[in-house]
């Protein structure tokens, strides 16, 4: 973080569902007319990518963008229990975060940047609203079913060198993925995610960054290129930061952060 960057941590939102956020406030003389809302991943992916997204926010702020990083209900420092996480609630949280950043920054334009499930939520939010013009999808979850399968595979792999939990420890109500409960309701909602079938009317500029070789990658590219938005696709050879590392380190992919900041700065000079 640069010495002149101001980061304000605070809670916002309805009293029964307080959300935690950090607002990165650039100096007034450098402030651009577009504010950024960072839509984080969930579960262990949120923990593993926090460092990178914090640095992304810092770099965007240094480039003059007011940035709001926030935790969804039941995630991170926000109120609620982890098993209460639901997609409709998280979409509502994104709307609350957009109102909050508009109130603080006074910015008219908003850019949503989403990683993994955050990318899927950002795209769903854009599809539902008419006032979001810019979208960055960083390795978004394109197929929810594929994402769930991946989580279960990872869970199996992580259980290899540890005592196995007894079968009675899990219930039908949730699946435990690395210490995060995935309720059956959330599983059903995640399964329904299919970004290649989402349309929108408002987005004008879209950047997709992909590090993950996906079977449905082409579908998403074709889908986005058929829309009216100016669409840019970048395939980058960078680490997939949301996976746990063997030594517990948290990876920050500079190349991706640089790409996002330079694209956002180009779109909002």
């Amino acid at each position: 973080m640069k010495p002149d960057e101001k980061v304000v941590p605070f809670y916002f939102g309805p009293p029964d569902k307080r959300l935690f956020a950090c607002y990165h406030e650039p100096p007034l003389e450098r402030r651009r007319q577009c504010a950024v809302v960072v839509c984080q991943p969930v579960g262990h992916e949120y923990i593993n990518s926090h460092r990178a997204l914090r640095q992304l926010a810092s770099r965007l702020c240094d480039a003059g963008f007011p940035v709001l990083r926030f935790d969804y209900y039941g995630c991170g420092d926000s109120s609620g229990n982890a098993e209460e996480g639901r997609i409709p609630q998280w979409l509502e949280d994104i709307s609350t975060a957009i109102s909050e950043v508009r109130r603080r920054a006074g910015a008219v334009q908003i850019c949503l940047i989403g990683l993994r499930v955050g990318g899927a939520l950002a795209m769903m939010a854009v599809a539902e609203r008419a006032d979001l013009e810019n979208l960055v999808l960083w390795d978004p979850v394109v197929s929810g079913k594929r994402y769930l399968d991946g989580l279960l595979r990872l869970r199996k792999e992580m259980l290899r060198f540890r005592p196995k939990p007894s079968s009675t420890q899990e219930t039908l109500d949730y699946v435990d993925v690395l210490g995060f409960p995935l309720s059956r309701f959330l599983q059903a909602e995640l399964k329904n995610i299919n970004l290649s079938a989402i349309g929108w009317s408002s987005a004008k500029n879209v950047l997709v960054i992909q590090t993950d070789q996906m079977s449905d990658e082409v579908d998403l590219q074709e889908h986005l290129s058929q829309m009216d938005a100016r669409f840019e696709y970048q395939r980058l050879d960078a680490p997939q930061i949301w996976f746990p590392t063997s030594d517990g380190s948290l990876v920050v992919p500079r190349q991706i952060l640089h790409s996002i900041v330079s694209w956002t700065s180009r779109v909002h000079p």
């Binding site: 941590p9 950090c22 923990i47 926090h50 420092d77 098993e83 992580m158 210490g179 409960p181 380190s249």
Partner: protein, 314 residues
Amino acid sequence: MREEAVFFGEVKSLIGIVTDPPSRNGNHYKPAIILLNPGIVHRVAPGRIYVRIARALAAMGFVVLRFDFSGIGDSPVRYDNLPFDKSTVRETQDAMHFLQTTRGAERFILMGGCSGARVSLQTASCDPRVVGAFLINLQMSEHDDQSSDQISRTAAFYYWNFALFNLKSWCKLLTGTADYRKILRALGFQARRQLPSARKMPPESVQLAAKLRMLAERGVCVAFLYAESDPRLNDLREALGRELRQLRALARVRVEIIPRSDHNFSSLHDQDKLLKKICELIDAITPAAADATIHQRQDWLPRLVEAPTQHGGK
């Protein structure tokens, strides 16, 4: 209970969350609890376990602060070149000062996983305001997480303590489906550890023993909490040996093992067991809190999801 985002520290750059109990009536005498970053993971911790711990302890009437050291999570880096082992102790003291000023706390229990445990111990050793230290999976050496042997070590510990007694593992070994390369590497690691040069008591162990004796004399409660499958548990036993038994006999040092858990407590069941153990220990060392039983605090344990709820969604 109320959660508040706070700034504190020399230049108000440290960011944290204070979880206040629902009511402070009658709780003013209780020590405040500070949770320290587990490694470089931010104050939420793997599996969001710090959030659960903070809420559970606040429900018991404690003020709890979890914050990020400089350069970790949301707190910016320091610009004074103070080494990490010194800056973390100073920042923990800043946290105590903050709670003293804003919540009137005068005594503190420090708690942390991994490197957070080291900082808890170091701060407890040099600050008389600390009355308790909960050291979760304490690493004996500052650099053991970076060791290239870490994976072999974890695997060796697993094979020796768990797979050896598991019928399924033997079946895999005998049917050719086991990872033989990994097993050989783990056996090699175990053999190297038996060499006399590897068994010499490192200076860290001597220092740790001295610190524990000093803390015991000062009346500080030190609790080591280890996941059963964490190889660091062996390190502690090897490092302190008989000394540890003597210290435990003084009843100021406890060693608690969380059964069938791993280093990160990476299942909800592991987390429940850790949380329950922490609450029991806190009850034990702060007897005035004993009126609230574990049973009454079920609200912060994982709940079964009973029915779909409408969140005004899209």
